[in-house]
């Protein structure tokens, strides 16, 4: 009906945060026609996610729109909507795929149930919702949509969750789809599949796409125009890209320069890199995983899989020496995060053993396990979700020092600030609440928090996925330095071939 009007038009959009006193967005202008795609890039903390939330009327408390802000969806002026008006728009006419998919899914409901409920809200029959869900999941490259639909969000890998969210967002064939870093948790092949699915959505349903990413290559490949957001203002994107190492969108080489056979590690570590760990310590591995089986229960798998046929991880064995970096690679859904969680005792193992420095992790519990956690730390994939949202950055980091008796009170805060500085976190934000930080900022808080207790082994689950090239370089250099100076062993889970190649002489493919 409104064929001449653009799908989304924004004029003079400004946002301020009361607490920080900074103008997060300033006089944003753009318009997006039916079926068009606009890419927004920009460094971490530039306000990319805030822009998306502002377009959906979902700004956090304390945030305010500047005078003269105008947002139009077709002929509808969004600034005039009340809560009821917004709920008729969100999900149906504008859909959003959040950057941290775990925060956007209801943790206690199976995927199918969530979709059906969203469909009901918008007047779809359950059958129609299910049909569209299956279609969407197939488009997103799932071979067995039924199985995925029967899982709980925590039973999906990060990449699977992102694709499930995209399928959900497409449920109502929205006029505008806002996707915030929709491919960060995906391997290059799946990244292409998702890109193709987004292109189909534009072509088949005329959906206009606002694609937010720091991956300029992806934006250039998938969007009609690319703009850059810097310090809250829009500008033309740089023509010559900043170092976007390892983010080529197509056909990334999968030949990592390391032995594929995990059992040959001793020879490899000895030859590739001098470790700073003491030579005799190298004799006993820091981490030994023996014949590990881990699985989930799904109802659609008829006869309960007592034989472990449906296990995500099957008969996995490897070892990791002190100060060694082991890369863990594999396609989305291969069980990379599951492996991390099983080692951390967040998931029960079905069979096999995880031995950390001579201690069988399944054999201890309570206080001994808690004390051992000091030496075994984790940077989660959805780093933001793993932090206490209501605390300040420095309090979150100080907590790790306090609970292990390393420092208390003011001393802990000072050390926390030093750790935050070490990971390149802006000093002005150390007292800001976690939930006012950008994803990239939270990522660095999570790394600082994990480093606080002084671990021997750090499990990093996609530590660079949500960072812009500059910050990514910073984090990689930091990990490298920690390995060399502290003798920190790393289990590095990543889709980023360049990061793996740089840090991990040995790779475990899943």
């Amino acid at each position: 009906m409104s064929a001449t009007l653009p799908a989304l038009r924004v004029h003079g959009l400004g946002v301020t945060f009361a607490g920080a006193g900074r103008l997060v967005l300033d006089a944003i202008e753009f318009s997006l026609g039916r079926g068009e795609a606009l890419g927004v890039c920009g460094p971490s903390g530039a306000g990319k996610t805030t822009l998306a939330l502002a377009l959906l009327g979902l700004l956090p408390r304390g945030a305010r729109y500047a005078q003269g802000t105008e947002r139009h969806l077709g002929a509808l002026r969004l600034d005039d909507l009340d809560d009821r008006g917004w709920s008729a728009v969100r999900g149906r006419r504008i859909a959003m795929v959040f950057q941290e998919p775990l925060l956007a899914l209801h943790p206690a409901l199976r995927v199918r149930r969530q979709i059906v409920e969203v469909g009901r809200l918008h007047g779809l029959t359950d059958q129609e919702s299910t049909r569209r869900l299956h279609e969407g999941l197939e488009t997103m490259g799932f071979a067995t949509p039924d199985r995925i639909a029967d899982r709980f969000p925590h039973q999906l890998s990060g990449g699977q969750r992102q694709r499930v969210l995209l399928a959900m967002a497409m449920l109502m064939r929205p006029e505008v789809l806002i996707a915030d870093e929709p491919t960060t948790a995906l391997d290059p092949e799946r990244r292409d599949a998702v890109g193709d699915a987004l292109a189909n959505l534009r072509r088949d349903h005329g959906t206009a796409l606002l694609l937010i990413s720091h991956d300029i290559a992806l934006l250039r490949a998938r969007c009609d125009a690319v703009v850059s957001l810097r310090d809250g203002r829009l500008a033309d994107a740089p023509v010559v890209d900043a170092p976007v190492a390892g983010v080529s969108t197509r056909a990334a080489p999968t030949t990592y320069d390391a032995g594929a056979d995990p059992m040959t590690h001793d020879a490899l570590t000895a030859s590739t890199r001098p470790t700073s760990a003491s030579p005799n310590a190298a004799a006993a591995p820091l981490l030994r995983v023996e014949h590990l089986h881990v699985g989930y229960h799904t109802p659609s798998v008829g006869a309960e899989d007592a034989d472990g046929a449906d296990d995500v991880l099957r008969d996995l064995s490897f070892t990791l020496a002190r100060g060694e970096v082991l890369g863990v690679v594999g396609p989305s859904g291969a069980g990379k995060t599951t492996l991390a969680q099983a080692i951390l005792r967040l998931l029960p193992t079905r069979r096999g053993r995880v031995v950390f420095d001579g201690t069988d992790l399944a054999a201890i519990d309570g206080e001994p396990l808690r004390r051992l956690r000091r030496r075994l730390q984790h940077v989660a994939q959805d780093a933001g979700a793993s932090l206490p949202a209501h605390q300040s950055a420095s309090a979150a980091v100080a907590e790790g020092l306090e609970v292990h008796g390393i420092a208390r009170g003011a001393a802990a805060r000072t050390q926390a600030a030093a750790l935050l500085a070490e990971v390149g976190f802006p000093a002005t934000l150390v007292d800001a609440r976690i939930d006012t930080l950008s994803t990239g900022e939270r990522q660095r808080v999570a790394i600082a928090r994990a480093l606080g207790p002084g671990p021997d082994l750090l499990i990093c689950d996609e530590p660079t996925a949500s960072l812009d090239p500059e910050r990514r370089e910073q984090v990689l250099a930091l990990l490298e330095r920690l390995r060399d100076t502290r003798g920190l062993a790393l289990l590095l889970i990543s889709h980023d071939p360049a990061a793996i190649a740089r840090l991990a002489p040995r790779v475990l493919p899943l």
Partner: protein, 271 residues
């Protein structure tokens, strides 16, 4: 698709709650007569509402408005204290069960279910007839001790959900000890649930106190409470309607209001 939203209680509800609190606090100062004083048993008993006695008088010629205003403190105070007791007990049991896990959790929750299955009024009657008239604080304690089970179930369920979230798992992996996990991570996240549970416990304690007082087993006479004001009309409720209508309306209104607050606090938690 939904980010956590703040749930607000609307202005009307807040104003009403504020009004009731103010009236209750100012009750003795506002009361035109002493609430326990028999003014003139010969001539002023069972006076219908008039300019002199806005809500009439009871059989002892005591002013019902004065008794109503002062009685609010006893009725609401006891219910508030009872809700507090229920909240503390219920949170302790619910958190304990969820954190203990396995057979201890099953044991605690089965006990809770068993207690929940007992008719509360019957238990209260048994206790109160066994001990005789209770002091106000003891009455609140007994009401709280029989009303924590729903809170325990809510808290256990929500705690289990929270323990599966990334934020709590992050704290566990960091090595946060159980006590700090409760104080710094679980309790702040449980706050909305606890608010709902407390309001519910309050809403159920108000009519129970009134019922016990009506039976002469609650707030001890001659101290007024909404329940024992109504009790005075016994024998001829219809003709002495003014003794019945106003306290009853207050009881029903308070319960409805508490439920509304609870509803506003929960609203939006659904997916």
């Amino acid at each position: 698709m939904t980010r956590p939203q703040r749930h607000r209680v609307d202005a009307t509800t807040l104003l009403t709650v504020g009004g009731i609190v103010a009236l209750t606090l100012a009750g003795p100062a506002l009361a035109p007569y002493a609430p326990t004083e028999a003014l003139d048993p010969q001539r002023l008993a069972w006076q219908p509402p008039s300019a002199q006695f806005l809500l009439g008088t009871d059989g002892f010629s005591r002013d019902v408005l004065s008794r109503f205003l002062v009685g609010a403190r006893h009725t609401l105070g006891v219910a508030l204290l009872a809700a507090g007791v229920a909240l503390v007990l219920g949170t302790a049991v619910g958190l304990g069960a969820a954190l203990a896990g396995r057979w201890r959790e099953s044991f605690l929750m089965r006990c809770t279910d068993a207690l929940l299955a007992m008719p509360r009024l019957l238990v209260l009657l048994l206790v109160v007839t066994g001990t005789g008239a209770l002091r106000l604080d003891a009455l609140a304690l007994v009401l709280g001790a029989t009303g924590w089970m729903t809170t325990a179930r809510l808290v256990r369920q929500e705690t289990r959900r929270l323990l599966a979230t990334d934020a709590l798992r992050g704290a566990i992996v960091l090595g946060v000890p159980p006590a700090r996990l409760v104080t710094h991570h679980l309790l702040p996240a449980l706050a909305p649930t606890l608010a709902v549970a407390a309001t519910g416990a309050f809403a159920s304690a108000v009519p129970l106190e009134s019922g016990l007082s009506y039976l002469g087993l609650g707030v001890p006479t001659p101290l007024p409470s909404w329940g024992n004001i109504i009790a005075e009309a016994e024998g001829d409720l219809l003709r002495r309607w003014w003794v019945v209508v106003f306290p009853t309306a207050a009881i029903v209104g308070t319960v409805l209001l508490a439920n509304r607050v609870a509803e506003r606090l929960t609203h939006g938690d659904a997916p």
